[in-house]
Symmetry: D2
Subunit: 311 residues, 4 copies
């Protein structure tokens, strides 16, 4: 299965499961994959920032990759995030992941890049290092510190034929989305898939601007599924109704630093993983945080019932 | 009127009104102040980041200060933000603002501070420069790049007797709030007022953690008023219901960079200011953005009607 | 006197003199100007970063400007640094300084700029705000955090006809210098003056790459004068001999944070200013630092005597 | 051989040798080690920033470690830099390196740390992760973005009994050095070894402040040897004479970004490694740069002859 520019829908960002002693919990992987597949996702993305990729050794990263690919068994494509700051590490994991059956690789700009010239040079080397494999460009300025103006993204895409998808996670990014879609529609830019991140915090707005779906890890992936469905059914009010029901929790889970702790706590509660453990450094949830989550989840459930939505 | 540690409720962050040619629109100030007073705010804060303070000359900053103080006529206290990076500019505006009748001054750490020692030294100089006037400490890491751990905030407060309020705008900051409140309650730390920012995005959660109110500039200040009222009435579900009705727009207005354009657009639509003009550099709203805002405001109104709330 | 692209030689960065109580020492200005003129500088630059411009109120900045212009009496051109982060403050000081007789204005990119597109937009606004006055583009990534690739500098120069000089202070920047000179010589780029900074730490190397001189504030401006003279006389070994004699102190004065304290200490010792006082925040020299300086100055004097150079 | 707090002299930062095709050149390691040992260094440090550690896969890092340990054969201690941003990667390489015979490990603060509390928490985890092995604390704010005030360094040292050495590379850092030495001498702080970096740019000044030697990779390690010797012989003028002879090149090699290219070029010319190749991203030297180096090396040789020093 090879990722291409027609990809759409929900690619869920999967966490990396750990045991309470912080060892890899590889035996959690099958049930985590089942949890996501049961919510009808179109694909999985692993080893992203929320996948704690930077906290794994290279061998562990490969173990996780193989475990996820084995558990999905080809049912949906799996995208693997590769390190941005080291071409050697990027090349090693990329080769191993594609060999193991990955559908494509996700690459962000290296944090040190500070000019358009440097960014273009970086992606020229990326293309050379990765060879002919499908690439997802991750545009996440809040995480990388690198700003990619729309015209620069266009130049990267045009210089990198293997780039088939943009993970759009700029903030604010709605105008960037509109610009890129207009460039495809009216100005001959090659159209690629655009999936959006930010925990889903702007998903309905992004779909109205032409996004093809979501690539994010909110702990209720059915939100992304149902918002995308309502949007495709031509019912923006319904999409917004569903979204608004989840929004208080989406927002709470999107707190920088604490967000992943919230997400893993809920995923553990829902049975997707056996423990909410993160590797260090990691924020811990206290009793007050857990009360907040319980309060928000209870309200969310009531609201979904009123909407006639199945959670 | 002198700000003290008992301050609570809603201190609205006021924008600075400009004409379409980007000149100061001082004659907009009275109606802007009336707009806020009509929504029962407990105070005003001017010349914050969302007040485009950094885009004014020093004389213009003083003109705005005098105009706002004149328009409020002592009905509510006015807090004036002073520059953090220059003690000379800080001292000049501070003296002029207090002379004109300000209730207190808001000060942030200078963006260059990179150690606890440097932060404490900075605030020691601030205290010396400002003398005996009420100070609001602004904790806004996303804007300043300076992280203030809770124990460091405590040290600043204890070393600065004139500090009567914290504008809490860390993100995530709920645990910092809980920590500070516990330190006042159980560990003998002097209790000061804590008002919260971030466009109100976490207001009900923050109130549950012990915040005394909000200091932010969301274009519907009645949201902050009604959430605070419901919270004080002991009805967290009602507070959350009101909040959730506004949340899709709160979130949209909180987009970095674009947020102020959205806020000024709505305030102009509501008649609080005559033009949404910002000084450069400034994001501009396009037709698609305006459609988004209209869509969200219409949904918000319907939802408020269902809640039996008066907008 | 109007700065143009033929400017060359030594433009010294002048400090701002303060009294021991940190008030402006405007009556120091005439002797400071005389000190620099006696060392045959071709121009003065005031209100740069080493001029503590960010620590002055706007009125003080204008006072300094007028005092320096009055003291130079038109004998050499004076360039005035204007604030980069606020177009209103930039416009106000620019107009007042040109009105008072400045030869040109120095402008840096605003620290927040993070893409080529943003940089070009910034300088388009600068050109509009400043109108038809000679502009010096300051390229100082270590101070501003903004990287300007050579091709981007070319685009700024070509889009800004009023830009007549580059203050080149990138580090490393020798290849940038070579690139820009080759672009003027072989590719039709408009040739502008290039003066170099960094306290003179690379001056002979920069001259060999085509720089027109130095714009920096090393406390022995005769170093820059004599190195430029030897270079122009076609004697790079002599230029290097003179430079090497001063290099241990150049290096010591170039320490970030401490450098200005060293510079003002020496300038006060040499009688150029009456006190080494800086405004806060400022590094202070302790006894060990003063010993270092004395040690280095004594060695420098001996070495200059051996070279037959007059200090 | 286990590093302890009595270490002094010159620990040279070794580069990682690559072939022209950017593959590891492990067979270069023996002659590189011989080159350093022939210059009487007291130790080697590998996998630092100038060792391009971030451009190696984990397996390659271990290969380099083993090759260097094998080549030194226990003649001098070898310190191995371990990754700061990932505790898993740190632990893996640390265990493997100590197992292979390393004398100690060098650890820097993770780049994301932004408060004293966070820094102390980080090093508490480091101590737990590394266990009882000798640790070198690397204080390099220009590389990491983390400022460690002297009092914070003291707290780290006191909380980390295994910390036996500080690699001091703050800039400016002379006062920090004096502070730390005074704290050991007069205030009961445990005395540890302090070696200094920055390419040797402040070496004689640092020795006068109490540094125990140098840990840096200037391409003429005999400079560090001879400066340390003259200093220990109580002859600061001689130390300065030797230093000044090398200073123009030290300065040239210290240019950020370009410096490593200069260093590897000279080391290749001197036969220490077979190729100056760096892995990407890397600055390349052009003909003008090579001319500069030749000019500076020729002058350096003449000056050393005049000094009666053997290069």
């Amino acid at each position: 299965m090879r990722l291409d520019e027609t990809a759409s829908g929900v690619f869920v960002i999967a966490p990396t499961p750990f045991r309470e002693n912080r060892a890899l919990a590889l035996d959690d992987v099958p049930r985590m994959v089942d949890f996501f597949l049961a919510r009808d996702v179109q694909g999985l993305t692993i080893l992203g920032m929320m996948g704690e990729a930077a906290k794994l050794t290279e061998q562990e990263a490969l173990q996780v990759t193989r475990a996820v690919l084995s558990a999905t068994g080809g049912k949906v494509p799996v995208i693997v995030g590769v390190p941005a700051a080291s071409f050697a590490a990027m090349q090693w994991l990329a080769a191993a992941a594609m060999d193991a059956g990955a559908a494509g690789l996700m690459v962000a700009p290296a944090p040190s890049l500070r000019s358009d010239e440097a960014v273009l040079g970086h992606f020229a080397t990326v293309a050379e290092v990765l060879g002919d494999v499908p690439v997802v460009l991750q545009d996440y300025p809040q995480g990388t510190g690198v700003q990619l103006a729309p015209a620069l993204i266009r130049r990267i895409i045009e210089a990198t034929p293997s780039c088939v998808m943009l993970k759009h996670e700029d903030w604010p990014g709605l105008d960037k989305l509109s610009w890129l879609r207009a460039a495809s529609t009216h100005e001959g830019m090659r159209r690629i898939s655009i999936l959006t991140g930010n925990g889903g915090l702007f998903l309905p707005d992004e779909l109205r601007r032409g996004a093809d779906g979501a690539m994010t890890g909110f702990a209720f992936p059915e939100m992304m599924r149902d918002v995308v469905r309502a949007h495709r059914a031509g019912d923006p009010q319904r999409a917004a109704d569903v979204f608004d029901a989840y929004l208080p929790l989406v927002r709470y889970e999107q707190q920088p630093g604490v967000g992943l702790a919230v997400r893993k706590h809920i995923l553990a509660q829902r049975g997707a993983i056996s423990s909410p453990t993160q590797r260090r450094p990691a924020a811990q949830l206290g009793p007050r945080d857990l009360e907040d989550v319980a309060f928000l989840v209870a309200r969310q459930e009531r609201r979904l019932v009123m909407l006639g939505s199945q959670g």
